[in-house]
């Protein structure tokens, strides 16, 4: 167990870097990636191949990239300040949503600006809230294992016998 943690700790920066390598260049005018590999939960789950293209065909950039792609914003909360914000250089999810969010124990207010962005989900939260939230309303797949296939470690964590078929979600 301890050894596993060590491995995770060592690989964490590497994975982060890999994740950030998708320089989803700003603005809808630029070429968006066809697919994005999400592998930061690699310990328990196999990488998720997110079909970016399918999603861009169905939805506006700003429905997911709240206000960073320069095509306005669909979010009421963001509109207050970002209705006509310019496109950002880096619009990947991880450029704003950190991999891990731990508010320091002794810190009373987590960010410099106490009014906005104080309740920003971490990367895992942002992706799930965004993806699953939309999948629920738009009838996309919502079962955990419909996107996340277990690694052997994942199967052990969830007490699935190795010979057993993966249960319904």
């Amino acid at each position: 167990m301890k050894a596993l943690w060590k491995i995770v700790k060592v690989f964490f920066p590497v994975i982060m870097i890999c994740y950030c390598v998708f320089p989803v260049k700003g603005m809808c005018g630029q070429e968006p990636p066809e697919s994005v590999v999400l592998s930061y939960l690699h310990k328990l789950y196999k990488p998720v191949h997110f079909d970016h293209q399918v999603h861009t065909e169905m939805y506006d950039c700003c429905s997911c990239h709240h206000h960073t792609t320069g095509d306005g914003t669909a979010k009421a909360g963001c509109k207050k300040c970002h209705s006509d914000s310019a496109a950002l250089e880096n619009v990947s999810c991880s450029s704003c949503h950190q991999f891990k969010k731990t508010v320091e124990i002794t810190q009373s207010v987590p960010v410099a600006d106490p009014l906005y962005h104080i309740d920003k989900p971490d990367l895992k939260g942002a992706l799930h809230l965004q993806c699953l939230g939309c999948h629920q309303t738009e009838d996309g797949p919502t079962g955990c294992q419909e996107c996340h296939e277990f690694t052997p470690a994942g199967r052990t964590r969830f007490a699935l016998k190795n010979e057993e078929l993966q249960r319904r979600d």
């Binding site: 124990i105 002794t106 009373s108 309740d119 799930h128 057993e164 249960r167 979600d169």
Partner: protein, 310 residues
């Protein structure tokens, strides 16, 4: 002081305590007033975000080296209610469970994670007469199983029915409950394993004060999504784990009859005798012992002396 308290001595002190109550009136329990730690941490649980994936249960199981469950953590049949509509409870094999609720007028279920709430003024702690419990400055309510005598008072005192015992070992009872991952994580400033595992950010770790601010803000910004209350801000004197919900809390299994006063107050008077017992029992016992032996001796002496007198 307590490291040397053996089960035997503690049992004796309990006996003496019972005797002492006959003679002495209880005083207020100065030694049991609990400091509030302003920078203590907590977890904000947002029921509107939880999807019942049970990742938190699986993470807890691994972190605390708990026994393998009967059904895998992917099995959603555990959400089906028991015969009499009971929900799952925490026990010695699981320090946290997620339960499903189907509140009226809502087109989707809500899930509620249950574990120790790590009260600001824990009733388990104040009811424990051998002081097996500690509230750490980081916010965790932890316990020392070596001090525990297995009297199960804390089980009854806890307003949330959290502490459980390993019944399999009747002669070495052991209290078991969520310890906020104190030993392995909280002590080092890290969030508990369940929080780390939650994919939905339904569990948010941070300083309790910040979490209350964040909770208020969510209620303010999305008023239609939340009831205007943070459960645990005041309940039972305030808890480290705090909750947001989209339906009234009693509809998702929360006890809303719990008073805002710390449970401590109601047991304070009883507890007044505890420190007294611990300090005077040796003297009292020695006294009893001396009385008893003197009497015996007296009788012997009499027996010896009788013929002399005649």
């Amino acid at each position: 002081m307590f490291t040397k308290t053996s089960r035997r001595t503690v049992l004796k002190s309990g006996l003496t305590g019972a005797l002492a109550t006959l003679f002495m009136r209880a005083k207020s329990a100065e030694s049991h007033s609990i400091k509030k730690y302003p920078d203590s941490s907590g977890v904000l649980v947002d029921l509107t975000r939880c999807v019942g994936c049970r990742s938190c249960e699986a993470a807890c199981n691994a972190e605390q080296n708990l026994p393998e469950p009967e059904l895998p953590f992917t099995d959603k049949s555990v959400f089906d209610e028991g015969e009499h509509g009971q929900k799952r409870r925490t026990d010695e094999t699981r320090y946290t469970v997620v339960n499903r609720y189907e509140p009226e007028g809502l087109d989707h279920p809500l899930f509620r994670k249950v574990q120790c709430n790590h009260c600001q003024e824990p009733a388990c702690l104040s009811s424990c007469f051998v002081n097996a419990y500690t509230k750490t400055p980081e916010g965790a309510v932890i316990y020392d199983p070596d001090i525990c005598v297995g009297c199960r008072t804390c089980m009854i005192a806890c307003p949330f029915y959290i502490p459980t015992f390993k019944y399999s070992s009747a002669f070495h009872p052991r209290i078991l409950k969520c310890i906020f991952c104190y030993d392995t994580r909280l002590k080092y400033g890290r969030e508990p394993a369940c929080v780390e595992a939650c994919p939905q950010d339904a569990l948010l770790f941070g300083s309790r004060d910040t979490l209350i601010k964040i909770g208020r803000r969510r209620i303010e910004e999305k008023g239609d999504r939340y009831v205007d209350h943070i459960y645990g801000e005041y309940e039972a004197g305030g808890t480290s784990w705090l909750y947001l919900s989209s339906v009234p809390f009693e509809e998702v299994g929360f006890n809303t009859d719990i008073s805002d006063e710390p449970i401590l107050d109601s047991v304070k008077n009883f507890l007044g005798i505890v420190p007294m017992v611990l300090t005077i029992w040796p003297a009292l016992f020695t006294g009893f012992h001396l009385l008893a032996t003197r009497k015996e001796k007296g009788v012997e002496d009499q027996n010896i002396h009788v013929p002399e007198d005649k």
